[in-house]
């Protein structure tokens, strides 16, 4: 059933399903406007105001969400931390999605030895737990924002390759694709003009679900000290230090974690809506 044919009531219901996107958009906006939104410099220390509970005023600081172990304003750090989460998630999804989709399409269209080679490599990558592969790669390359993106792209592209491959297999045999090739269209033209528009829906579904996972992965790597390095604010790193003060200052670990949870939940709900909209099996 297409959205055009839907009744007004159904259309309204469908529109309602997109409310989580508003949360994602709000976090994205906060990340973009961080320098103007954050009340203080996220790295400004105030040792007299260490581990103050939410609502405390200390010197020139008003800690709406409390302060951390160096007296830095938690609210400002959370707002700036959103930048790291979203930059890493966006960049790694786009990078792994582009690489994976391209390789998967080529494998499915060209067949032969390219297909065997690409899909065997995909199998190998998928048989190493992604977290472990990410850990060893960061251990080799050294932790930094760019390396985290590269590592996540390296570990996640096989997911897209698999989907693009199976979708291409079923579409490449269709008459219009054959005709295009017969009429002299080269492989790149067939792939990107004729195949890509037909598989982009399935790839987008994977991408939205992966996006939430990438936010969690970045936070996990930062939590282990393998992500963005201090003093740059990252939710995972904030949780990691906050863990040491959980008995005395609950807010340091709890609040960044809550942001992480809400963002990932909103992304996953959006992913469900995208899947229902784009994946014909769920319509």
């Amino acid at each position: 059933m297409s959205a055009v044919a839907a009744s007004p009531a159904r259309r309204k219901r469908q529109l309602w399903r997109w409310w989580p996107l508003a949360i994602v958009a709000a976090v994205a906006l906060a990340a973009i406007l961080a320098p103007w939104l954050a009340p203080y410099d996220p790295n400004a220390q105030n040792l007299a105001g260490r581990l103050k509970p939410p609502g405390t005023v200390s010197r020139s600081f008003h800690y709406w969400l409390g302060s951390d172990e160096l007296g830095r304003d938690l609210l400002s750090r959370i707002i700036h931390g959103a930048r790291v989460s979203l930059i890493v998630a966006f960049a790694s999804v786009i990078l792994s999605g582009t690489v994976g989709t391209t390789l998967g399409m080529i494998a499915g269209y060209r067949r032969g030895w390219i297909e065997v080679a690409v899909m065997r490599v995909v199998d190998v990558f998928l048989s190493i737990p992604a977290v472990l592969l990410a850990i060893i790669t960061v251990a080799v390359l050294g932790p930094s924002l760019v390396n985290v993106v590269l590592v996540l792209a390296l570990t996640r592209w096989p997911r897209y390759a698999r989907v693009a491959y199976s979708q291409t297999l079923s579409i490449a045999t269709m008459p219009y694709v054959r005709l295009a090739a017969l009429m002299g269209a080269g492989a790149p033209r067939v792939l990107f003009r004729h195949l890509l528009p037909n598989i982009i829906g399935a790839v987008s579904v994977v991408a939205t679900l992966e996006f939430g996972l990438m936010v969690l992965f970045e936070a996990g790597l930062s939590f282990l000290g393998l992500g963005v390095q201090p003093p740059t604010a990252s939710w995972g790193a904030m949780l990691s230090t906050g863990r040491n003060y959980v008995a005395t200052a609950w807010w340091v670990a709890t609040l960044p974690g809550l942001c992480l949870f809400v963002l990932v939940l909103a992304v996953n709900l959006t992913g469900d809506a995208v899947r229902d909209r784009l994946d014909p099996r769920f319509r």
Binding site: L133, I135, W250, F261
Partner: protein, 308 residues
């Protein structure tokens, strides 16, 4: 059946060789792996000496074959910091991680499967919507945050459970839940879709029309058919649990392989990190093989069909 077994074992071996090759190249991403093995204070002479001792100055192909030969003898090398074989270190910590993974799997199946049944049977009822919300929340919860929240509530505020380290079974409760919650969501989703799939089939509808009650229908008619996707998921989830243990063990100071890995990263003890990753990959490949074999036990048709 023998042909099926041989073919599957051959595929697993090919994958393992692929994994080893991948790790070999990851190790050389920066060009010279010697720098991964020396402390930051090492002089150039130290680096040169170690490079020669480790054989990193030999041709790449020789190094690769040497790497394969060592692994074939189950030799994962030696910890640079502790001067102990990596295998010994992993073996001493493995029981703790297995214990944790078992606890987590118990939580994941014990909650996930019933929730999945609930989702399938009461499809659009409020109780199913509530359960669906629970599953989605569990899926979006970072393990390190749920772990910290549990410590805050059950250890700090209520004082019911010990916050960290090992001891009696009560030490295992919170880590198991923290690690198991994410897999729980997966089990619930797969159980739901497997049940819905089977419930819509002719044999299930026939049984229903003959007046078979839902409980009996599930146990006697559907359970075996619906268990096939669950077996795959269980195999995949066990390897996810082993990987997830890295974070959960850090949160709860649980002395398993994950904790060793994180300590090794901080101490720049690369051989341990590499050993753990290789072991994780081997376990994953082995579990996939086992799940394939289990399939053929549950559903004989898979072998008769040629087993693809």
């Amino acid at each position: 059946m023998q042909g099926f077994l041989l073919r599957r074992a051959g595929q697993a071996l090919a994958t393992i060789i692929g994994v080893v090759t991948l790790i070999f190249f990851v190790q050389r991403l920066t060009g010279d792996p010697t720098y991964l093995l020396v402390p930051e204070t090492a002089t150039k002479a130290d680096v040169d000496a170690l490079r020669h001792v480790m054989g990193f100055d030999r041709p790449l192909l020789i190094q690769y074959l040497d790497f394969l030969a060592d692994l074939a003898r189950f030799d994962l090398g030696q910890s640079v910091v502790q001067r102990v074989p990596v295998m010994t270190i992993i073996a001493s910590r493995l029981p703790y991680t297995l214990m944790l993974a078992a606890g987590a799997l118990l939580v994941a199946c014990g909650i996930g499967v019933p929730v999945g049944i609930l989702l399938a049977i009461f499809r659009d009822k409020p109780v199913a919507k509530l359960a669906a919300g629970f599953v989605l929340a569990a899926q979006s919860m970072p393990t390190f945050w749920s772990g910290i929240l549990m410590i805050l509530v059950f250890s700090v505020l209520l004082g019911w459970l010990p916050p960290s380290s090992t001891g009696d079974l009560s030490h295992l409760v919170m880590p198991s839940f923290a690690l198991g919650l994410l897999s729980m969501a997966t089990f619930a989703r797969i159980t739901r879709s497997a049940l819905l799939d089977e419930l819509s089939k002719d044999y299930a509808r026939t049984a229903r029309s003959r007046g078979v009650r839902t409980g009996r229908l599930l146990v006697r008619h559907i359970a075996r058919n619906a268990s096939i996707p669950l077996i795959t998921v269980a195999a995949l989830e066990i390897s996810n649990l082993l990987a997830g243990a890295v974070i959960v063990e850090t949160v709860f100071a649980w002395p398993g392989i994950g904790q060793v890995t994180v300590q090794a990263i901080l101490a720049r003890d690369f051989m341990i990190v590499q050993g753990v990753v290789l072991m994780g990959a081997f376990v994953t490949v082995a579990l996939n093989l086992v799940s394939d074999l289990l399939y053929s036990l549950v559903d004989p048709r898979i072998v008769l069909d040629g087993g693809r």
